[in-house]
């Protein structure tokens, strides 16, 4: 037995040695690319670029922003960009351990800020990165057909009148209110109970499910009311109508249990890992700090991804190639 196993092994080792030597001095197209790569990185216009760990939170418009700025960093600056698909909370935890450097679209998480931002009393692993140019709009929405047929439904005070119409097998005799991914910023249960509305929140589980529900409701003229938001590419096809709630006033959302007001328009923010953002002279950090674009731009890319089913990298590249001015503004 011994002999049979060692003989081929010995031969193998000999061949391996020969092959390795051959590889070491051989040519081939990869070698050339490798050589030009290392030449490029050593001569890259003075500024270096460290690795960027980009959190990708689970909604398509976020994905659009993350990949556009990420691909710019990759192709124009030669940074190494790692995309990490994570929910919001886990992303923030990653700032401290170096697993996440950038959250590109934050909708406001007072609780996380308190835990991780120094000026809010946290451990200082996260630092605010300024607005990203997008405006987040959250409301309660109904499909357009419903708003046309029953215009008074767009005021919360009339909702109870229609509650029966919204009943489903899930809503326990009340009207069904469709919530979304539990990780999103949502106060609907509190709003419903504080405004004494005869509704029950049923969670769709995610962006795709909510979107599907609204599309179906419009197509089949079904009764549906739920949480939704802009920027969202759905609005181009199905312009959902918002239901008016008591207006937002400063502080009305401070106690999650007592919320009885509408959602504020949110200026979406960038959040960075303080350690990563603290690197002086890093081209990637400079780019992330400068990055800003508006809802329209974002919707274009989100649509490439979700409707045209492009890979996020390709979608980002398409937009980058079509918008050199905007991209150059981030790089200057």
């Amino acid at each position: 037995m011994k002999v049979t196993t060692t003989r081929p092994l010995g031969a193998l080792a000999a061949v391996a040695a020969v092959a390795l030597v051959a590889t070491a001095c051989g040519g081939g197209d990869i070698k050339k690319a490798e050589a030009s790569n290392s030449a490029a990185s050593s001569s890259a216009a003075g500024k270096k670029c460290a690795t960027i760990n980009m959190a990708v939170n689970p909604w398509v418009s976020y994905e659009a922003s993350a990949y556009v700025v990420g691909e710019v960093a990759k192709t124009k600056l030669g940074c190494q960009v790692n995309y990490k698909e994570l929910k919001e909370d886990v992303s923030w935890q990653g700032f401290g351990t170096g697993e996440v450097d950038v959250v590109i679209e934050d909708w406001g998480h007072p609780d996380l800020e308190k835990k991780f931002m120094k000026d809010k009393g946290g451990d200082g692993s996260a630092i605010a990165g300024g607005p990203n140019g997008n405006k987040g709009i959250i409301h309660w929405y109904v499909p357009p057909w419903l708003a046309t047929e029953h215009p008074d439904i767009l005021d919360y005070q009339n909702l109870n009148k229609y509650a029966d119409q919204f009943k489903t097998s899930e809503s326990g005799g009340k009207g069904q209110f469709l919530g979304s991914d539990p990780s999103y910023v949502q106060f609907d249960e509190a709003i419903i109970s504080n405004l004494k509305l005869n509704f029950k929140v049923v969670f769709s589980g995610g962006e795709a499910a909510s979107l599907e529900a609204f599309k179906k409701a419009e197509a089949n003229k079904e009764w549906l009311i739920g949480y939704f938001w802009e920027p969202q590419y759905l609005f181009a096809d199905v312009p959902l109508k918002a239901v008016k709630l008591p207006p937002f006033t400063a502080g009305c959302q401070d106690d999650p249990a007592k919320v009885a007001c509408d959602y504020p328009d949110t200026i979406l923010q960038k959040v960075f890992s303080s350690k990563w953002a603290g690197q002086a002279d890093d081209a990637g950090v400079a780019l992330m700090k400068k990055f800003q674009w508006d809802n329209e731009d974002q919707n274009v890319v989100a649509k490439y991804i979700a409707v045209d089913k492009m890979k996020p990298e390709d979608a980002a590249k398409k937009w980058i190639d079509a918008n050199p001015d905007k991209v150059n503004a981030w790089l200057s």
Partner: protein, 705 residues
């Protein structure tokens, strides 16, 4: 071979010679054991038939009636329903625990140890990724390109098994690249490989310990029970806390999920070494260590390899779940498909996971059988075999060399096949669901209004003390003291955790889903048992149903039924029904031919044959299938929570995605575990005089075939 079948066959233990198979089919073997005596005409040896002197359903019905009467008067009070974001003291305490652990990330010794371990795993994974999956800068491609990896894998396939396996490996690896998922597939293999290695390093010694020491087993067994009853999402919460996000958590989660089968099966292998063999060793003056090394481990080797196979399969099925914490692998594109509601995008990586499972399963099985084949003089002559190996090695080295030098051999050119196939699939599924959704929403409403809502009203709207007393009383009349004690402990725990109302809702869903699961299992299982052609047609579908990640079919199911509890039930059925169907089919098949002959001769119609002969004789298989169905359905509770089923599953999802709800999620997760133990204990005791074989349930629960 379970101990049960050994006992029932008395001293003339059958030399089936298929120990590994029996433990793989698990209960099928055990279910067959009861039937076997009939076939052999040795009824006098048979265990007493379980005709209870007093049918247990009568007191049970009485209890339900009492429960109902009290419910009429008290419903809606003391249900302990949590309003919105309410939290109880214990949830706050769990939150505080998490916060203190996080704050102590750099000082707390436990956190520092887990951090060090995490760094080790991360480094190892990153190194392997640069080797075969991601560009190893400054190289624009990995160190070894696709051609090299594929040929090496094929060569290994031939070396450890045979040419058929080599072809299977070749086909699988080429399809990774051809469909455009090369890098994700390599990541998956890396994570699975490391995890299985860790499982072996931890699992085999633990299994040997549990197999040789009764006391160690008493500690290990409940831990394994716990690990296997817990929905995987539940342990993602603490794992991320201790090991951070990314590959380290993926490995740890996979190990926790995949190691139990190996430990159990290894222990079983050690235990089933006949005592006479040990006595021989003893009389030769062997020490215990020598006995272990020279007799027990060699004799259990075959069984341990079966355990390894089970562990590998379990590790693969963690792939998608691990992606929730940014674990690399094929789970990522599956989740991406879910995010944009695209079945096609999710299906192809899902099928590649299935293909990987088939490849690894067949390869490990063939490898373990190879020694036998050669011993029986099968296979190629040794000289020819060696020649092919050597030739293959030279080709392999050539391929390695090319894949380091040339782009075509390093990077798969994407022809867009995967994309096109995904589009076609997505389109087909879209139009199918659009056409079917009026019918399916009718089904959903029907079952929800007729069964789910009334049952939920009854259980969840009962005051907590009433439901508590009712369930405990049912446990007692169905299973006696030995069911009552664990039931009371579990119920008390659920009460303390503060998720009582949600637990009752989940219970109602679980019961409805289990009934539906058993209905399917009986109808399809009997059909499969009675007709070989049906079996042949359906079994591959069942296999795929068990291996394909649940998230793949979540999208169409969601489109058909909308976000609802019923959607959760359907998702759970897709996961649970295959196992139950197989168990019933195997049980019914085990009814002896002579018995059936007699039934036919006495003029029984087909329905009578099924109702009066086949089903009663397959009783233990039915009981087992129900138990399995229950636990499988419960294991899907969290996934159900993602598609609008609410209750405990939703709370776990909420806890894993919102920092301030972490404690609530943890409490809900523990409640699911308690609910699982509660149902399992009652079902086990209720099934009769505690068939010992059911201790095997978890092995089966994870990998039904």
């Amino acid at each position: 071979m379970t101990s049960h079948s050994q006992r029932s066959d008395g001293p003339r233990r059958q030399s089936d010679g298929n120990a590994p198979e029996a433990s793989r089919d698990g209960q099928a073997g055990q279910a067959g054991a009861r039937v076997r005596f009939v076939r052999r005409g040795r009824a006098e040896d048979a265990p007493p038939l379980r005709d209870d002197p007093a049918p247990r359903w009568q007191p049970a019905l009485l209890i339900l009636l009492l429960w109902f009467l009290v419910w009429m008067a008290t419903k809606g009070s003391d249900t302990l329903a949590l309003q919105g974001r309410d939290q109880t003291g214990i949830m706050h305490a769990l939150n505080d625990f998490r916060d203190s652990m996080l704050r102590g990330r750099d000082t707390n010794p436990v956190m520092r140890l887990s951090g060090t371990i995490a760094d080790g795993f991360r480094g190892l994974v990153a190194w392997l990724q640069r080797l075969i999956s991601i560009p190893a800068a400054p190289r624009p491609v990995p160190e070894i390109g696709w051609l090299g990896v594929t040929v090496v894998a094929t060569w290994i396939g031939y070396a450890v098994a045979n040419w058929r396996i080599a072809l299977l490996v070749l086909g699988t690896f080429v399809s990774y690249g051809a469909f455009g998922y090369w890098s994700d597939s390599m990541d998956l293999l890396i994570i699975v490989g490391i995890s299985v290695l860790v499982c072996v390093l931890i699992g085999v010694p633990l299994g040997i310990l549990a197999g040789t020491s009764r006391r160690a087993n008493a500690v290990i067994e409940p831990v394994l029970d716990l690990l296997q009853t817990m929905p995987t999402f539940v342990y993602l919460l603490p794992i991320v806390l201790f090991f951070g996000i990314g590959s380290a958590s993926a490995v740890v989660a996979t190990v926790l999920y995949a190691a139990p089968p190996l430990i159990r099966i290894a222990a079983h292998g050690i235990r089933s070494v006949p005592p006479t063999m040990l006595e021989v060793g003893q009389s030769l003056g062997q020490t215990r260590a020598q006995q272990l090394r020279k007799i027990q481990i060699p004799m259990a080797k075959r069984t341990i390899i079966v355990g390894l196979n089970q562990t590998t399969m379990a590790a693969l099925s963690m792939a998608t779940i691990a992606s929730f914490v940014d674990g690399p692998g094929l789970g990522k594109p599956v989740l991406a498909g879910l995010r944009i509601n695209d079945v096609g995008t999710a299906l192809i990586p899902g099928l590649l996971i299935v293909a990987t499972a088939i490849m690894l399963d067949r390869a490990t099985t063939a490898a373990s059988e190879r020694a036998d084949v050669i011993a029986r003089g099968g296979g190629l002559p040794a000289r020819v075999h060696r020649g092919i190996l050597l030739g293959g090695a030279v080709v392999t080295l050539g391929a390695l060399y090319l894949s380091r030098l040339m782009f075509w051999a390093a990077q798969f050119t994407d022809h867009g096949w995967g994309r096109r196939l995904a589009e076609v699939t997505d389109h087909a599924v879209d139009s199918a669901t659009a056409a079917m959704s009026p019918i399916t929403s009718g089904i959903k409403d029907g079952i929800s209004y007729a069964f789910l809502n009334p049952l939920q009203d009854f259980i969840a709207e009962s005051p907590w003390w009433l439901a508590f007393a009712g369930i405990a009383a049912l446990a007692f009349v169905l299973g006696g003291w030995r069911a009552l004690a664990p039931a009371v402990v579990c119920l008390a725990g659920m009460r303390a955790l503060g998720e009582w109302h949600n637990a009752m809702i989940t219970l109602a869903m679980t019961l409805v889903a289990t009934v539906m699961c058993m209905a399917l299992a009986v109808v399809i299982g009997v059909a499969m048992a009675r007709r070989g052609s049906v079996d042949l047609a359906i079994r591959p579908i069942l296999d795929a149903g068990q291996t394909i990640p649940a998230f793949v079919y979540l999208v169409p199911v969601l489109a058909l039924f909308g976000p609802s509890r019923f959607t959760g039930i359907v998702a759970a059925l897709a996961y649970a029904a295959p196992v139950s169907i197989k168990l019933v089919a195997d049980g019914v098949k085990g009814v002896s031919a002579t018995t059936m002959e007699a039934a036919r001769a006495s003029g029984a119609s087909r329905m009578q044959q099924i109702r009066l002969v086949q089903l009663p004789m397959a009783r233990s298989a039915l009981v087992l299938a129900t138990n399995q169905g229950l636990l499988f359905v419960l294991a899907m509770a969290v996934i159900a929570g993602m598609v609008g089923a609410g209750a405990l599953g939703y709370e776990v999802v909420l806890g894993s995605s919102r920092s301030e709800e972490w404690g609530k999620g943890a409490a809900a997760g523990m409640t699911i575990v308690l609910l699982g133990i509660l149902l399992d204990r009652i079902a086990r005791r209720a099934a009769g005089p505690a068939p010992e074989g059911t201790r095997w349930f978890p092995v089966l629960r994870r990998r039904g075939h």
